[in-house]
Structure formats: structure tokens, C-alpha cells
């Protein structure tokens, strides 16, 4: 397939689609990596809401916080519309409830458990005619997979579901502030189609949120670092000014 002609999923996030040369190639699974407070959840939720605005159904799988709490944090945003959630345009699933439903009680999942979980998500995707998927966070789910092999297998299977259904997925990856790579276990970044790195940049006592596209299969893209701000109308970005002394956190 010609990379330039590959169908795009417009994130709807101001400025980001231009950096992606027209959006995320559909079928891509993109890692949103960053340490705490960098805006991973906000950017993921805005991605789903912007999708709902254009009639693309979304599925939010919450592993770190109760989904309803996450939604409550969205209320102050101007783009938040309860109707998207009430009408099912955006479905919110809590991972502990999925585990309970599937009777996945073991602390370490085996291959069958992974398959059960993937099948469950697959059915939700098909039934809900999902076009945008967010797993928040992939790191939390991988915690029960333990080995690199199982993590790799899990991500590859998720990616296959995503690709087969022509949907676009954001997989949230939690990093420690001191992390050198883009994912907790090291496997996620190698397998994902794209990496959107969010960071905290300390400059002369100011803490700036930053955004950078590290990789994105299927498209040319920006590789520069941007400053990101979470405003009531959504994420806004501006080029990072290079002058002055900077230190990454």
C-alpha cells in the first residue's frame, strides 16, 4: 500500500494531525508514553470524543482508575458531551469488571487467559462498531503477563484485532520519570506501530508538558518536540523553543 494514500484517522487534536501529516494511519496501534501528569489520559479521551463528534464510535478500557471517575474529570472541558457516553458512542469498560466477568482471577495470566481477554475486546469492537480504541493503561494489563513473550503476544494480538477491524488504537504506556525507553517492559515500543511521547520538561523552574512523535508506521511525520497545554477546548501545542538551558525529567 502506498504510505501516502493509507486511510487516516484524524485525531481532532489541534495541531497533532498536521504533525502526523494528516492523522494516524488507520489500523495503527499507537503507544502514548509518558510519566505521571504528562496528559496521557486527557489526550486519549479527547481522541475518543473528537471521534464521536465525527460519528466514529469509541471504546475506553480503563485499568488504572474506575471509568466513571475518569469521565468525571472530563466534565470541565468544553468538548465533553455526556450524550456520547449515554448513547453508547463511547463505551467505557473497567478492566477489573472484565476480569471478574471472564473469571480471570490468577495473578499471572497464561495463554488461554490472554486469548479470553482479547476475544472479549474483539467482540466489543465488533458489536459496538468501534473505530477508536483506548487501553489505559497497557502497562497495568501487562503487569499480569509478567514475561516479555506474553506481553509481546498480547500486543500482537491486540494489534491484529485493531488492524483487522480497521480501527485506530491508543495504548497508554506508563513511564517512570527516570525511564530511558518508551515503555515499562521494553517490548511494547518495539511492537507498536507508533509512539507518541509525552513528557515533563523542566526549564528554569518551569515544568512544561511536551509532546513528540517518535515513530509512526505508514506516514511521514514530525520528529520535533512541542510544548502541550491542556485547555478547556482541548489540547493545544506550540513548538518548543530551543534557546536556554533545558533538562528533561
Amino acid at each position: 500500500m502506498n504510505v501516502e494514500s493509507k486511510n487516516r484517522c484524524l485525531t481532532g487534536i489541534s495541531g497533532l494531525d498536521a504533525l502526523l501529516n494528516g492523522g494516524i494511519p488507520r489500523g495503527n496501534s499507537v503507544l502514548i508514553s509518558g510519566s505521571c501528569g504528562t496528559g496521557k489520559t486527557t489526550i486519549s479521551l479527547e481522541f475518543l470524543i473528537r471521534g464521536a463528534e465525527t460519528n466514529e464510535n469509541g471504546l475506553y478500557i480503563s485499568a488504572t482508575e474506575i471509568g466513571s471517575n475518569v469521565m468525571n474529570n472530563l466534565v470541565p472541558f468544553d468538548f465533553f458531551k455526556q450524550e456520547y457516553f449515554d448513547s453508547g458512542k463511547i463505551e467505557v469498560l473497567d478492566v477489573p469488571k472484565i476480569y471478574e466477568e471472564l473469571k480471570l482471577t490468577k495473578m499471572e495470566f497464561d495463554k488461554d487467559d490472554i486469548d479470553k481477554f482479547i476475544d472479549y475486546i474483539g467482540k466489543k469492537i465488533e458489536k459496538g462498531e468501534i473505530k477508536r480504541l483506548v487501553i489505559d493503561s497497557l502497562t497495568s494489563i501487562c503487569y499480569r503477563l509478567r514475561t516479555e513473550e506474553k506481553i509481546r503476544e498480547f500486543i500482537i494480538k491486540i494489534e491484529k484485532k485493531v488492524n483487522d477491524n480497521g480501527i485506530t488504537a491508543l495504548l497508554v504506556s506508563e513511564l517512570l520519570p527516570t525511564a530511558k525507553g518508551y515503555s515499562q517492559y521494553g517490548v511494547e515500543e518495539a511492537v507498536a506501530d507508533g509512539i507518541l511521547l509525552l513528557g515533563n520538561l523542566k526549564r528554569r523552574g518551569d515544568l512544561l508538558r511536551t509532546l513528540q512523535i517518535i515513530k509512526m508506521r505508514g506516514t511521514a511525520h514530525s520528529r520535533a518536540e512541542y510544548v502541550m497545554d491542556i485547555t478547556s477546548i482541548g489540547i493545544l501545542i506550540s513548538p518548543l523553543l530551543k534557546g536556554g538551558t533545558v533538562m528533561s525529567l
Binding site: R204, D206, V227, D229, T231, I233, P239, L241
Partner: protein
């Protein structure tokens, strides 16, 4: 020709206007720019680095000037929680230059990218908090962002407090200079 007429004429042809006023005329020039904006019924985004937005608002009020289309970006407070109304956006520090750009971008978006005058008050104060390298870059990025829009940028400066280096940068990035009387 009055300063107001001069401002009106300059705005027709130029996007980035450096206002070099004397300390004595500094405030009158700002009032004239806002008056022109009110006459033309365009939005004003007042980026305050020197004087707190509350003081500017009080002065405008005392002159009976309409604040309907005037928004403030205030970086003088050094306190995030000091935002008092929906038309004032607080930036914690004048060193957060990218955030200043984003706040202007935000105001453009919420006003539907309508015609606007952006008053940057002042270059002198920005230069106190930022070194010239990053400040030059800030001006370039801001101006590049504003060029395609129906925005006019007024960079306020006090002539007697300008260093030759800062003056050179401002002359370089501006389309025209409005000299104070």
C-alpha cells in the same frame, strides 16, 4: 495626525508593529491602541508582562471603555490560582513563553479566529525574564503563528529602557515602528 489615526493607518498594511514610546507616553499609546480596536470592533488580547491585568481593567473601566471584546493573558501574578474571571488567562511566569503562545492560540480559537489585536506589554519586561536567544525565537514562532490570521501584533516597548541588542531584535522582527511622540 493623532496617534490613533497613525495606528489605524499602520494596521491597514502591517501585521507586526513595534511601538516605541517614551515612558511618559507608554500608557497613552496602549490606550490609543485599545481605542482603535474598540472603534474597529475587533478583539483585543492583552498579554500583560508588566502591569497586572486587574490594574489595566480598572483603568479601562475608569475611562468608560468597553471590555466586551478584551481578553487578558496575565503573567505578572506568579500564582496559578489567581485567575479571577473567564476573560483572564493566567500564565504562571513570563518565562513560560510557549504557554503564552498557546494562550493566544486559545483566545483565537474561542473567538472563532476573528480579527484581533494582540498587545504584548512589554518587550522590555520579557527581556528581564528571558535571554535574548529564546526571546528572539519566541517572537519568530509567535509571528509565524499569527501571520496567516487576521491578527495584528503590537509589541510595546519603552524606548529609553531598550538595550541596543533588544532593539535590534525588535526592529528585525517588526514590519514597522510606531515612534512615540
Amino acid at each position: 495626525m493623532t496617534t490613533k489615526d497613525e495606528i489605524k493607518n499602520i494596521m491597514e498594511d502591517h501585521g507586526v508593529i513595534l511601538s516605541k514610546s517614551t515612558l511618559k507616553d507608554y500608557f497613552r499609546t496602549i490606550m490609543d491602541i485599545i481605542n482603535v480596536a474598540i472603534d474597529k470592533d475587533v478583539y483585543v488580547f492583552y498579554v500583560s508582562i508588566t502591569i497586572p491585568s486587574s490594574i489595566i481593567k480598572n483603568v479601562l473601566d475608569s475611562y468608560g471603555m468597553s471590555l466586551d471584546k478584551v481578553y487578558f493573558v496575565d503573567s505578572t501574578a506568579y500564582s496559578f490560582g489567581s485567575q479571577t474571571d473567564k476573560k483572564t488567562l493566567v500564565v504562571e511566569s513570563p518565562t513560560m513563553l510557549e504557554t503564552l503562545i498557546i494562550k493566544i492560540q486559545y483566545l483565537q480559537k474561542i473567538t472563532g479566529n476573528a480579527s484581533s489585536i494582540i498587545i504584548l506589554d512589554s518587550a522590555n519586561s520579557l527581556a528581564i525574564h528571558n535571554d535574548l536567544t529564546i526571546l528572539s525565537e519566541f517572537f519568530h514562532v509567535l509571528i509565524t503563528m499569527l501571520r496567516p490570521s487576521e491578527a495584528r501584533l503590537f509589541i510595546i516597548s519603552v524606548a529609553e529602557q531598550l538595550t541596543p541588542e533588544l532593539s535590534n531584535v525588535l526592529e528585525l522582527i517588526s514590519d514597522v515602528t510606531l515612534e512615540g511622540s
